[in-house]
Amino acid sequence: MENIILLIPSIPIVIAFILSFVSKKELIPKVNLILSSMIAVFGLWGTYYVISNDRSIIGFDGLLIYNELSAILVPYVAILGLVVRKYATKYMWDEAGYRRFFILLNFIFSSIYLLVMSNNLIVLALAWQLLSISLYLLVSFNVGSNTAVQHARWTMIIHKGADLVFLFAVILTYKTFDSFDLAVLSEKWLAMSHSPVDNPTIFIIGLLFLIAAMMKSAIMPFHIWLPYTSEAPTPVSAVMHAGVVNVGGILLNKLAYLLLLTPMVLNIAFVVGLITAIFASALMLVVSDIKRSLGYSTVGQMGYMIMEVGLGAFSLAIYHLIVHGIFKATLFLESGALIKFARHDPNLPKRLSYELFWEEKIKSHTKKAFNYLAFFAILPVVVFVGVKMVLSEEFFTFNASIVILAFAWLTGTQLFLSFFKVSKADSFKVIFALVSSFVIILFTYEFIGLSLEHFIYGHNALLFYKAATLNVTIAMSLLMIALIMIIGWMFMYKQHLIDIPTDKNQANTFKWFFYKFLVKEGNYFALLHRSKKGKK
């Protein structure tokens, strides 16, 4: 009976098929929403089954599996899918190709479910390629726009490259381990991990899978497709930033036991992720286009995710991609609502930061009482959970990710300060807000990361930290955070006291060069054009 859950990847295809015969436009969203809510119900049922019975659902001759990873990701994708579909119902109403949009949307969701639930490398390869073509057709949905089509072409070329690399990795895996079955392969890899492995082919396989994941997750130098595809309809952007880019992380989690055998690949993942996170976060602050800025923000977050994988925190990468996905989807969908709001109201909508830090509010006793209540209710819980976790032994084995959190928090702070420009208004309040948000994020990550780790990998989770040779101690993490904070503070301090350059003052050439470098997005396009000219 529970095997019915394994039909989830086929449901969107059935919906797409039904939609192609629905003649009334009004019926399209209704059919779409009703049937896709079935996926969410099946997903939640599957998750309940996996948790309550402590075993996975395997079917179709072992080709599909609903295991712990699916139990977390399928309901997430299904609920995200429902929200995006509901949003698109009205948002896309006046667009040409309303039916086509929903058909394509269903195809992309089908490929994501198939990818998450696959237990076979061939099924995974098929889902991997299906995702590429669905994405291409969705990104180029606005077929009349030359730029949209051009950017979709870049996306497609990078994804096709990812498909080829993935295919070679699958071929080599089969030739080396003689199986396509992921459950069988994982057992083999786990057994092999108990003794040292010295096989260059395994390193190549791991590296190929990592490169494929990097291409799909927009990690540098394959990042360029993501910031430039924001011309796609807003619901597509939401799916892209909350679902499609995450497939790299999902793939690496599926192959986690393989990466145990190749610590070098983990180290490469860490370094590449670090460079991506720093560079993309810097670009995010400099580029003038808000949508591209959001695109670079996602690239930066994907960098963090790959870094987490590089440090052996596989489950944390899953948590990160879910949290980031929800945040970014909300941001994109909210932007659509804001545009609609702005069309009705000639005044620009107020920023949240303005309301929080500048606006004079009428003080009411009820609100004050509510704030006190909230503060004294949340604070003891945070302190209690925090102390309990710090005292537990596991906290100290789960600390590598703190570095990443520091980076993530720093990016968030940069975003907060630069977008909302609140630094001068009420610095005490701002610092308090930032520090408390960091503390809450830190403990939440630790708590959920540990819980997920126990749920997905059980005792084997510790093996990943042993394999990740770049393990960082908590002292190092704290030192690094302190250093970053001090440098950041000095930078801010200098920014506020710096003289306005006049003709007499010489401009700082290094700063100017660095700024130009970032504004030109790392001279990526200049290099591209130069190579094209060279060919001519």
Binding site: G97, N120, I122, L126, Q129, L130, V143, V149, I171
Partner: protein, 242 residues
């Protein structure tokens, strides 16, 4: 050896289209001729052992590279059709008997392209798609069918070309020649299909053209091709998964 050379010729391993093009033979006829020759190669391969010969494979590969270049310059559906037959020839030769089903699915998808070419010829005076842009919006039925054929040719699942391709590449022993051929075919088909997509499916519809969509009979014919492709897909899935 003689039989292998015969197979090389029949499977479009040598660019004989160059002579036919010089002789000003209609591209529609070249398309039909090369398809028929490939069909006969498929049938003959069931009776004649198709031996893997490196020299012949190299000739065929050189023909592929040149044909990819030629195909990137054309905007004619018929020409594109027969160029694709020549581009995929090394696959038939490299995988010997096992490349048959890939060639069959290639022919079925090219039948779709042929029907599209014929439709263009009837309604727009030639099988040239150069100025007839934005058909996704203006003629959605032909847009949908063309999208499916191009996705099939670009080697994307769930269509049979991709499934047979995947099935064969996972089963055979690899070598340097193998990798070169696979990468060339994989990207060659993709680049050409994407080019046609960009130049016909996408773009703003041309205001000076009276766009016409498929009639019922034409829709049924295309539906037939799609059903054939789906049957082949089902078979391909069975082959690679079970």
């Amino acid at each position: 050896m003689t039989l292998s050379i015969l197979m090389l010729f029949l499977a479009a391993g040598v660019p004989y289209y160059l002579i036919l093009e010089k002789a000003k033979i209609n591209s529609k006829l070249i398309f039909v001729l090369s398809s028929l020759l490939l069909m006969s190669a498929i049938i003959l391969s069931q009776y004649i052992p198709n031996e893997h010969n490196t020299v012949l494979l190299s000739i065929s590969f050189a023909s592929t590279v040149y044909t990819i270049y030629k195909a990137s310059k054309t905007t004619n559906f018929y020409k594109l059709g027969y160029y694709l037959i020549f581009i995929n020839a090394p696959f038939f030769l490299l995988f010997e008997g096992r490349g048959v089903m890939y060639s069959v699915s290639l022919l079925v998808s090219l039948l779709g392209i042929y029907l599209i070419g014929r439709f263009y010829e009837k309604n727009y005076a030639s099988a040239n798609y150069h100025y007839i842009r934005g058909i996704t919006l203006s003629t959605p039925y032909i847009g949908t069918f063309l999208t499916i054929y191009l996705i099939t040719l670009a080697l994307y699942p769930p269509f049979p070309n991709s499934l047979y391709f995947l099935g064969y590449v996972l089963q055979v022993e690899t070598s340097l020649a193998w990798y070169i051929v696979i990468i060339t075919i994989f990207f060659g088909n993709f680049v050409l299909a994407m080019k046609v997509m960009r130049e016909s499916l996408f773009g703003r519809p041309n205001a000076n053209i009276h766009y016409v969509d498929l009639n019922l009979n034409e829709k049924l014919m295309h539906l037939g091709v799609i059903v054939l492709l789906l049957i082949l897909s089902f078979n391909g899935l069975k082959e690679i998964l079970l």
